[in-house]
Assembly symmetry: C2
Homo-oligomer: 253 residues x 2
């Protein structure tokens, strides 16, 4: 039996991953605002500290894995909040737990997005990747929600890749999954949003496989990445999006 | 029980995939120069025609999947031969069998490489992607073996992505795996090559996870992609390389 930690496990992709881990007979420590083993607000440093301390207490001998699903979508009007949860609520948690994961030669899975390449704000990317939360929050307040969401998801993947030698040297692996549009409470809220809804519906209709993703599609890949069969996969951005990224960026590999 | 076709199944990654498919109780039709169900030379159109005809005869009701492992490495002095086997021996086979795979809503796995991004010859890429085998062979004769190998592997991935809507519309999925350096008879030959050996050894030593890949690592991902758990993954280039691509192209996602 393994022991895993999971942020954003109360709904959507996180809830599907939680269930899958439980179905496979493992233990999972869920961090979320509510309906969680550890109730913590990852938008604040105090919340991140509480999450890290709670997980360390629950798994003093190490973690087999960490999956960071907590995230807010582009329709959330408070862009600094998206910034703080999606990027800093991921990277700070990973940094605060990586030694615990290395103890068990475990693995980390970051939930990025197939929208990650779409961010049009280099200034936002720079602010995020410099690790300056205050600056990144300020920049995000002045740009569109789609750039904030996609930029936060791009930055977590690039942060992972920039630090890959250090992670690997610790004896752990780390990868990002990039879900395409997936039917969850979060995306259903975006689809209902008067500003973002029409674009999202058009986007979903253009998925080559002609269906949206389901949380189970992401749980399936996560299950594989957590298994012993994925130990040479490291630093990869794994798109699970029905062909959408291939269609939108055919010459990007 | 499923029925799969596999090119280059006699040695290396292909042999590991063949064994995995058999271990899972499926049937596999292997195409290779020798030690195969269908002996065919994929460097020639006659050989490709023979492979396609042989597979169609062996699986008249459709294929659950096709995996294209046949390939030659950068140390092979005959660069047009690398071109013909690696690119045209992949794309022509896929085009000739895709309807058979669609019959079973099957899946295709192309074996690309984590060296794919490294090709420095846009002229070679253009010749390959235009589908002009004669022109591509001519260009390849005038460039280095590493550009030919990596270019052929880049082109199969881009060809897949450029055609993703058509593949998806047929009811099949297709993805590419990008192995990092993997210990096989092919790569052992490159490591022994006086021209390419020293660079390869340095390359292997720089893998973040500090070990080369094994054919089983690639068979593990292939097994997952062939399963029902990977049906939303389409058009993706999946790196399995111990963190090497992340280290070399940190900001590329």
């Amino acid at each position: 039996m393994g022991i895993y930690a999971l942020t954003g496990g109360a709904t959507g992709i996180g809830a599907a991953i939680k269930q899958r881990i439980l179905d496979n007979g493992h233990q999972v420590i869920v961090v979320d605002l509510k309906d969680a083993d550890i109730a913590a607000d990852l938008s604040t440093q105090a919340g991140r500290d509480a999450a890290i301390a709670g997980i360390r207490k629950a798994a003093p001998d190490g973690l087999n894995g960490l999956i960071t699903c907590a995230g807010l979508a582009s329709h959330v009007p408070d862009h600094p909040l998206i910034t703080s949860v999606n990027y800093f609520g991921t990277t700070v948690i990973v940094d605060g737990l990586k030694d615990l994961i290395a103890l068990k030669n475990g693995t980390i899975i970051l939930v990025s997005s197939n929208s990650a390449p779409m961010c049009q704000s280099p200034e936002y990317m720079d602010a995020l990747l410099s690790g300056d939360e205050s600056a990144a929050r300020t920049v995000s307040a002045g740009i569109g929600g789609h750039d904030v969401y996609s930029g936060s998801k791009q930055a977590v993947a690039r942060w992972m890749r920039r630090n890959i030698r250090d992670f690997a040297a610790m004896g752990l692996t780390i990868n990002a999954i990039a879900p395409g549009y997936t039917e969850t409470p979060m995306t259903k809220a975006v689809a209902k949003d008067p500003q973002y809804g029409p674009a999202i519906k058009k986007f979903v209709a253009s998925i080559p496989l002609q269906r949206p993703g389901q949380p189970e599609d992401m749980a399936d890949m996560t299950e594989f990445l957590l298994s012993d069969k994925a130990r040479f996969i490291c630093g990869s951005m794994l798109f699970i999006d029905g062909g959408h990224d291939a269609m939108l960026r055919p010459d990007n590999i």
